[in-house]
């Protein structure tokens, strides 16, 4: 089942790339395949029963390169299931959004289906080499999306994105090799490495390996000061590229924290925990402040991503502060961190799709060039307001479920986490400012004659925000998946 979910998009991508079916059929195929894949994922979620600690659901293990301990090993637990679902939802939304794409739609459909397999593969992978392969394939896929369908100075941004994140993945690989070498017997298998925790008791080697892994993940996430590739990449990316980049690909970094770094290197993680707490707090505040200074809607949303991912880093850092803190609080923090990954994916994905509409209509993201957009485009205005309030963590949306848990759990672990609380207010201020500048006041500038959202644009945005609302009001199902896995991560870090 899981193999099917991961590889169906790839098969479709190969077929689309090989057979010239025409633009209409290509767009239709893309939507059909993503919807089918999403249906499979939902089926998996419905049938999912929380596995025993350390075990996996939908597990499959095949030999691949046995001589160096590399296997094809995939499986699902409470950390990966929500992110797999998120991936399915976001890609389906992007497929619908692109139903009117005019620029090489067949190639784009093939590329995004390929990218979907890569993203799903990262979340399903239970082997470090498999993880790394999928991880790098996402970078390649996103590079081509930027270079082929971007705008502005997109080639330069694409190259910068590629070099920077590729550098990050190299650091990650070095860390993986370190883990492999330290394990006895040598293996790249994730559950085995978690069980073995190979570098316990060797502080120097552990710190070095964790440093390499953290560097790789920090670039991908991204956290301050490794975030500088993100704003240009977003600014010049096509709307669907931005949505996937923000909603899914940033999670590859944060997912790596809870899947690899924390459970495999608990000693080193606890030693580095304060650094992560500090970096998380700085990311929260710096991301929000810099976002407030932006005059370009897409850059602004990009920087709010830095802020939102900062909460995740803060929470996983706080989870490493084992001594003198309560395991319940640390569990709440990690649960909040994983919830934040899902929540940010839904909400920021929707916001980037909305931003894409501005570019589609007027070739501009400049906040100052618009004003009073609510008059010609009420649907756009309503969804943007809802998206902004969801993004600022309004209760009733998923962001609150995530951020409330992150902040309370982190404060429960260390009172220093209080420093991150003003981030909530800063995000509120900057999003309201942007919304007001775009939507309210007299209709002027580029807003005049602005065409409101079409059905293919409304549907994915409204769908993503509706999911954020559902998670925000009845989070029990989602938290029922995440909590056992988060608790087990906290236990593993504490050993």
């Amino acid at each position: 089942m899981l193999d099917l979910v991961v590889f169906v998009p790839l098969v479709a991508a190969v077929l689309l790339a090989a057979v010239d079916v025409g633009d209409r059929a290509a767009r239709g195929t893309w939507v059909a395949v993503t919807v089918l894949d999403l249906a499979l994922l939902v089926g998996m979620a419905v049938a999912y029963r929380t596995p025993a600690p350390g075990a996996l659901a939908y597990e499959r293990r095949l030999e691949w390169i046995p001589s160096v301990g590399v296997g094809y090993h995939v499986g699902v637990d409470g950390l990966s299931l929500p992110l797999l679902l998120l991936t399915g939802v976001v890609f389906a939304g992007c497929a619908v959004y692109s139903l009117r794409e005019q620029h090489r739609p067949r190639a784009q459909a093939a590329l995004f289906l390929f990218l979907q397999t890569a993203c799903l593969g990262v979340f399903a992978a239970q082997d470090l080499v498999l993880f790394f392969v999928f991880f790098d394939l996402t970078i390649v896929g996103m590079y081509f999306s930027l270079a082929g369908w971007g705008h502005g100075d997109h080639r330069r941004s694409a190259l910068q994105f590629f070099l920077y994140t590729f550098l990050g993945s190299l650091a990650l690989l070095v860390g993986f090799i370190g883990l492999y070498l330290a394990a006895d017997p040598h293996t790249f298998d994730i559950p085995e490495l978690i069980a073995a925790a190979p570098l316990q008791g060797s502080p120097v080697a552990g710190a070095l390996v964790l440093g390499a892994v953290l560097l790789g993940l920090a670039i991908k996430t991204p956290v301050v000061p490794f975030h500088t590739w993100l704003p240009p990449a977003h600014t010049d990316a096509p709307a669907v590229g931005s949505a996937v980049l923000a909603a899914v690909m940033l999670k590859l970094g944060t997912y790596g924290f809870v899947r690899i770094a924390m459970p495999m290197l608990p000693d080193a993680w606890r030693a580095w925990a304060w650094v992560l707490v500090g970096v998380g707090i700085v990311s929260v505040l710096w991301g929000a402040l810099v976002a407030m200074a932006q005059r370009d809607l897409k850059r602004m949303i990009a920087y709010t991503s830095v802020n939102h991912m900062g909460y995740v880093v803060l929470a996983v850092g706080a989870a490493g502060l084992v001594s003198g803190s309560d395991a319940v609080a640390r569990g709440v923090a990690v649960t909040g961190a994983v919830t934040q990954m899902v929540s940010h994916g839904l909400i920021t994905g929707a916001l980037f799709l909305l931003a894409g509409v501005l570019h589609d209509r007027r070739d501009s993201y400049d906040l100052g060039s618009f004003g009073g957009l609510a008059a010609p485009a009420p649907r756009f205005a309503a969804l943007l307001v809802v998206g902004a309030f969801a993004s600022l963590g309004l209760p009733g949306f998923s962001g609150f479920v995530a951020e409330f848990q992150v902040l309370t759990g982190s404060i429960g672990a260390t009172s220093w986490a209080v420093a991150a609380v003003p981030g909530i207010l800063l995000t509120a201020a900057l999003l309201l400012r942007a919304v007001q500048q775009l939507l309210t006041g007299p209709t002027r500038g580029l807003s005049v004659g602005f065409q409101d959202l079409r059905a293919t644009e409304t549907l994915p945005v409204a769908g993503l925000l509706l999911l954020a609302l559902v998670v925000g009001v009845v989070p029990a199902t989602l938290l029922g998946w995440i909590t056992p896995a988060a608790t087990s991560v906290v236990e593993l870090v504490g050993r």
Binding site: R156, L159, L181, V332, S415, V421, Q436
Partner: protein, 627 residues
């Protein structure tokens, strides 16, 4: 059964409101039935509230929210405290919506949807027994108030008023996040009634968080400034948000958590003093205003000061009485102000001179409301203020004295308004906000009249709690001040005209944050350029090294091939060419970079990828072999 009532109480207005908002977006026009759908929903909600608070068993309802923590669920509860407040809020909401439906103004469908969403968030806030449930209602209330104050979004000034309200109250709301963290760290869980069980220093942080959040919502010092800007909203919005609901919820939260305040030893007195000082400071602000809605707004903060004072003293009943009496009184007054605003096109006092004479029925109702506000016997606020002051006197004479000054000031601003409304002087021409219609719809008098009845009769609730001393003293004080001010206007303290500079302070704080943000933005740009420069530098260096390497290897091959004499000459040449070539290569690399930066898409990326992959594979192999 009781669970169904509670579910209806919360879900009915929320769902109906959300649907109306959806319709508003879909049709982009006016749905004719919207006012009556809203009034009908509010009526059902009020009926559910009455039934729920009269139910023999305490209605309770909960759903799983954040299941790992005790008290992490959303638990709703109607008890002795929430019952009366619930009935008050829903009935006032019904009357306000009825007035809005009858006042003849055209309102967008969105207005009705947002008012219902707001009502639902208030019923959620009132009934919440856990912190997550409270925050759910509390912050949706703030967000809908933003949209309602900025309802006329084409006017940037109004939207800014909503923004100030939302951001100020949200700044205070951060306190509740701290409370959540403290409760978790202190092991008490998130049930509101268990918060006092938090251990060690955490109980203090929890109480401080609640206190700050409540003072912000209740527009108490030092957060009062936002209430001034909030008057940009339509009058029905003020009548609901700034009388019975949003602002009052700040006071209500303190009443609900008074055991927590008491458990700390300091938070109770702090709340009491904040409330008492607000009654005086904002009372003075009210006296100094020249705009009827601004006067009423300042008086809202001042009157709620008595609720906060009571909550700080754990005098829950007195505080509830004051909250309820004020809700009815102030809603009637805001509706009257709104009716005059429509009729005369202004809310400036200079325009309203003699308005009560021109519109005697409305004038009569407003007079009842203002007399109640003044604390004149036997009206409702006279009794409830007496109850609060009685509690204050038991605790501390200083607090009691400050409260008495606040009571005198409330009589002063009420009589200032009365003086203007019944004045015989010629009014200034109105129409500075809207062209006045010149009439007040007769039907509007019904909801205002019902609220006026409340302002008269609700004192019966409180009379038992007030000592006879306070009642007599308060009555004499109110009537005395009324008599004096009606003869000679109260001196308007000039320092209070601009709300003690609080809105300005808020603006400065906002501007400072924006400056900090701009500075951070520049810093981040520099960081970005630094990284770009770093990348460019590394690549230039790599090219230089590569060129040097080429030259070196080529030279070596030459050396091997040639004889010793030519080798000598070759090495001389190499000596020359090596560093020279390197320097040239570096220069060329740097120059090429400029070109590359503009046109990087030359296939070099793939080469780079391959190179790195090869190096990597080599490194991997090396490590494996060495190991």
């Amino acid at each position: 059964m009781s669970g169904v009532l509670l579910a209806a109480l919360v879900a009915l207005p929320l769902v109906a409101g959300a649907l109306l908002c959806l319709v508003a977006v879909g049709t982009a026009g006016v749905l004719r039935a919207a006012p009556w759908l809203a009034v009908g929903t509010a009526a059902l909600t009020a009926a559910a509230a009455v039934a729920a608070s009269a139910a023999a068993t305490r209605p309770m309802l909960s759903w799983a929210f954040l299941p790992t923590v005790p008290g992490g669920e959303v638990r709703l509860l109607v008890d002795d405290l929430s019952g009366p407040v619930l009935v008050t809020v829903t009935v006032v909401a019904l009357l306000v919506l009825l007035a809005a439906a009858l006042d003849g103004e055209h309102r967008p469908t969105r207005f009705w949807g947002l008012m219902l969403l707001f009502l639902g968030s208030v019923t959620l806030t009132v009934t919440a027994a856990t912190l997550p449930g409270l925050l759910l209602g509390w912050e949706i209330m703030g967000a809908t108030s933003y949209a309602l104050i900025g309802l006329r979004w084409r006017d940037p000034e109004r939207v800014r008023g909503g923004q100030t309200a939302f951001l100020t109250t949200r700044a205070a709301d951060l306190g509740l996040y701290l409370t959540g963290g403290a409760a978790l760290a202190g092991g008490s869980g998130w049930s509101l009634e268990r918060l006092p069980d938090a251990t060690g220093p955490w109980v203090h942080l929890a109480a401080a968080g609640v206190l700050v959040a409540a003072l912000g919502k209740a527009a108490q010092l030092p957060f009062s400034g936002w209430l001034s800007g909030a008057m940009q909203g339509p009058s029905p919005v003020s009548a609901l948000l700034h009388s019975a609901a949003m602002v009052a919820m700040g006071g209500y939260l303190l009443l609900r958590t008074s055991p927590l305040l008491a458990a700390t030893g300091w938070a109770g007195p702090a709340a009491a003093w904040a409330g008492a000082l607000t009654t005086v400071a904002l009372g003075a602000v009210a006296v100094a205003q020249t705009d009827l809605k601004q006067l009423l707004a300042a008086s809202t903060a001042a009157q709620l000061g008595f609720v906060v004072l009571a909550a700080g003293l754990s005098a829950t009943t007195a505080g509830t009485d004051q909250l309820i009496a004020h809700a009815a009184t102030k809603a009637a007054l805001f509706l009257a102000a709104g009716a005059w605003l429509t009729a005369l096109g202004s809310k400036r006092l200079a325009v309203l001179r003699g308005a009560a004479r021109r519109f005697p029925l409305l004038g009569g109702l407003a007079t009842i409301g203002l007399l109640a506000l003044a604390g004149a016997p036997p009206l409702a606020l006279w009794a409830s203020k007496g109850a609060v002051l009685a509690a204050a006197r038991e605790d501390s004479t200083a607090l009691w004295a400050v409260g008495l000054v606040g009571a005198a000031l409330s009589a002063a601003y009420a009589s200032t308004a009365l003086r203007v409304l019944w004045s015989q002087a010629a009014p200034e021409p109105g129409g500075d906000e809207d062209p006045g219609t010149g009439t007040v719809p007769r039907a509007l008098l019904l909801p205002i009249g019902v609220l006026g009845l409340g302002a008269v009769g609700l004192g019966a609730l409180a009379v038992d709690d007030a000592g006879p001393g306070e009642l007599v003293l308060g009555g004499i004080l109110a009537l005395g001040v009324l008599a004096v001010v009606l003869r000679r206007p109260a001196p308007a303290p000039s320092w209070a005209v601009h709300w003690l500079g609080l809105p300005r302070a808020g603006e400065l704080l906002g501007a400072g944050t924006v400056r900090l943000a701009d500075w951070s933005g520049r810093g981040d740009d520099a960081l970005q350029h630094g990284v770009l420069g770093g990348v460019a530098g590394v690549r230039g260096l790599a090219r230089g090294v590569a060129a040097l390497d080429d030259a070196g290897v080529a030279g070596a091959v030459d050396r091997v091939a040639a004889d010793t004499t030519r080798a000598a000459a070759g090495s001389t040449r190499l000596d020359d060419a090596g560093p020279g070539a390197a320097v040239r290569a570096v220069t060329r690399g740097a120059r090429g970079l400029g070109v590359l930066a503009r046109r990087p898409q030359t296939g070099l990326t793939h080469q780079y990828y391959v190179q790195v992959a090869v190096v990597l594979a080599a490194a991997l192999l090396l490590v494996l072999v060495v190991r």
